[in-house]
């Protein structure tokens, strides 16, 4: 490859992925040396964290960075795009996974760690990072697969009948999802003639110049939306969530709920707000309830219903469960509803009939979704790890058999309390700002006269009340009351409690020092909505159509 090609060689873009990839290979090669493997794994996640920090500072100070793998120019080669949105998600992933890996080393038994835990963990992290960074829609599919394959193994990690059943359902469902995704991506390639996301954006914005028809892309992107909803566990694709989260080891449930789910959310933001947002169907679809001509106006109502249903199903499910993991799993479904709701609200007003105010409101909606994602990633990982620590100490997470954890394990219970309050949205914790922004989006949309904004507010309110209900129920049944025999017998692990407490401090820190977090999320939201900036950053070569 000649050096005269104008390709950037800012290797820092690929650094987080390389850290995860190299660590996965090293931990695979050192399977027979337990201690060395663990040390390498921890060093690897440290390198990942440093890579993300360096990349984040570079992007926030110097703007979007791109990287052409193999030095093939866009749109032919695979582009990595590190814009503010991608690094926001990477930062979220790094923050959570560092804690999760330290927790895992102390939590998962020696045999389990030796078998495959560390390589799989880093491969999953690689898949997540690749999904955030890639600027190529087929490559996105590949990273989804890289992320999913380790998760199949993790769901069946304890190899019991319950785990096998959960893994079978989880695997089959995701394979169907992947097949649909591949079909949709193939269709988009056939229609637009490109796989590069920036190139798709440019072509959709000006279909006549490139001789393409945007209408099929709308249908194909609707299929893609189903796949992302499946990955993110949004109703009506939520049913795999509780069995899978219950079957997986606690730190992996934290990973799946905290980070992997956010990949689905990220894909929705990236593809529908950056890429497909450029598309317009002349004359609209003419279906009832679906007015407007832009792609976003079609997806808004769909996302809206899914978000409302998620909040209700998650809330109702979580209130009636008798097991900490199940409560948290159903809660995840509900919380993803809170993440998607502001996106749905601002997608419905994406139509230009709302004028200049629409742009500001869209930024606000995406900020709300991102801040809520961050809050959910940290708080829900914290809660799943609390559940793991309780299981480690008391050998059970059934609410019936738990009680008096506050007396026996005050620090652990305090961390649970902080995590719960963050999900409920009590100031000054991270969740308060998440909820505030969600309601603010709804309120401003209502003021601007957006259809359904009142319903969104009402739904969010009901969802919030459910959150309070199921978390206080878990608290009173599991943590308060008399000390049960199971709790009395156990012994808590210092490392596990330490990690959980540290994450609880992070939850407080995000809330107290919210200003930089908000600016970061604002930069990410602006990047997400700046389709032109995205195209300019990648700057794919213009290929004349025949």
């Amino acid at each position: 490859m000649s050096a005269d090609l104008a390709v950037s060689t800012t290797h820092v873009v690929v650094a987080p992925m390389l850290a995860a990839l190299v660590t996965a290979v090293l931990t695979l090669g050192t399977r027979r040396y337990d201690r060395l493997q663990r040390v390498l794994s921890l060093l690897g996640i440290g390198a990942y964290g440093v890579g993300v920090i360096v990349l984040t500072t570079r992007v926030l100070s110097g703007g979007t960075l791109t990287y052409q793998l193999s030095a093939w120019p866009a749109p032919f080669g695979i582009t990595l795009v590190a814009d503010a949105l991608a690094v926001f998600m990477l930062a979220l992933a790094a923050l959570t996974t560092v804690a999760i890996l330290i927790f895992s080393v102390a939590y998962v038994d020696e045999e389990g760690q030796r078998v495959s835990y560390h390589p799989l963990f880093h491969f999953m992290l690689l898949g997540v990072s690749g999904s955030f960074l890639t600027g190529d829609i087929f490559n996105l599919f590949v990273w989804f697969e890289v992320m999913l394959m380790p998760s199949y193994v993790f769901v069946v990690f304890y190899s019991g009948p319950r785990q096998t059943a959960a893994a079978l359902q989880y695997t089959v469902l995701n394979l169907v999802g992947s097949a649909l995704m591949l079909v949709a991506i193939g269709g988009i390639y056939a229609t637009t003639g490109t796989l590069n996301m920036a190139d798709i954006t440019r072509r959709l914005a000006d279909p006549a110049a490139f001789g393409i028809d945007p209408a099929p892309v709308l249908g194909l992107s609707a299929i893609l939306l189903l796949v992302f909803a499946l990955k993110a566990g949004i109703v009506p694709f939520q049913f795999w969530v509780p069995p899978a989260y219950r079957a997986a080891p606690a730190p992996i449930s934290a990973f799946l709920a905290g980070v992997t789910k956010k990949v689905g959310v990220y894909a929705i933001v990236r593809l529908y707000f950056t890429v497909f947002a450029a598309g317009v169907v002349d004359g609209g679809l003419g279906l009832p309830g679906l007015s407007g001509e832009s792609f976003l106006a079609f997806f808004g109502p769909v996302l809206f219903l899914m978000a409302l249903a998620s909040m209700l199903v998650g809330g109702v499910g979580a209130v009636s469960r008798d097991n900490l993991d199940d409560v948290f799993a159903y809660s995840s479904i509900g919380q993803v509803g809170f993440i998607v709701l502001p996106l749905a609200v601002v997608a419905t007003i994406g139509d230009h009939s709302f004028g200049a105010a629409a742009t500001d409101l869209q930024v606000l909606g995406v900020i709300a979704a991102l801040v809520y994602s961050l809050n959910h990633a940290v708080a829900k990982s914290l809660l799943f790890m609390v559940s793991g620590t309780v299981f480690d100490a008391a050998d059970t997470i059934e609410l019936d058999r738990l009680g008096g954890l506050t007396t026996r394990y005050p620090v652990l219970s305090g961390s649970f309390f902080v995590g719960s309050l963050a999900l409920v949205g009590i100031p000054p914790l991270s969740g308060f700002f998440g909820k505030l922004l969600v309601f603010d989006t709804g309120g401003q949309a209502l003021a601007a006269g957006a259809p359904g904004a009142g319903l969104a507010l009402a739904g969010a309110l009901v969802g919030a009340i459910f959150t309070i209900a199921y978390l206080s129920r878990a608290w009173t049944k599991g943590f308060w009351g008399d000390v049960t025999p199971a709790v009395e017998r156990g012994e808590q692990s210092t490392v596990l409690v330490g990690v959980v407490a540290a994450l609880a401090l992070v939850v407080v820190a995000i809330g107290v020092g919210f200003d930089p977090v908000y600016s970061f999320a604002e930069a990410a939201a602006e990047a997400a909505l700046d389709s032109e900036g995205y195209v300019d950053a990648v700057d794919p070569e213009v290929v004349a159509h025949e």
Binding site: M1, L18, V22, R31, Y67, S70
Partner: protein, 158 residues
């Protein structure tokens, strides 16, 4: 494999003849893969079919007992004997593939950048194409062979 159902002489003879052919074809696909149909993946799969044939016709222990001249490891034990070696092949292959990508970074090019050099003049061949992509392909080949044989041997022993 139970002794009362030995494969026929035909099957065994054909296997003896075909296995070397498969392996040579696989190598040809591997070496031309960087710019002609072929590549590490398909070469690896083809190689595994040769192994699969040996496993099916001669039984699970034949490879270790007769060809490698040692005691086959206890079956049902995952981390022992030849399965462990398959795992090593997998890990080494992955390391080679990743290393070939990182080498490009060390030389100042983007990750996974490949280069090609033509060595000439050579007797008979005239010119030889040395592509760095071959290293990556070799890595992929080892990954595919290692992974598929692990699955084959492990599932086969159950």
């Amino acid at each position: 494999m139970s002794l009362d159902r030995q494969p026929t002489v035909i099957a065994r003879t054909v296997t003896r003849l075909v296995v070397p052919l498969i392996l040579v074809t696989a190598l040809a696909l591997l070496f031309q893969g960087h710019n002609l149909p072929g590549g590490g993946f398909i070469a690896g799969v083809l190689t595994v079919t040769a192994f699969a044939l040996v496993y099916v016709i001669f039984g699970l222990d034949y490879l270790e007992a007769e060809l490698l001249d040692r005691n086959p490891g206890t079956r049902y034990e995952t981390e022992s004997g030849i399965i462990r070696e398959y795992g090593t092949v997998f890990a080494v292959g992955l390391a080679v593939a990743v290393g070939s990508g990182i080498a490009a970074i060390a030389l100042g090019y983007p990750f996974l950048t490949q280069a090609v050099a033509f060595v000439e003049p050579l007797p008979i061949y005239h010119e030889l194409e040395v592509a760095s992509a071959l290293v990556f392909d070799l890595g992929v080949y080892a990954v595919v062979v290692g992974a598929l044989l692990t699955i084959l041997a492990e599932v086969g022993s159950e």
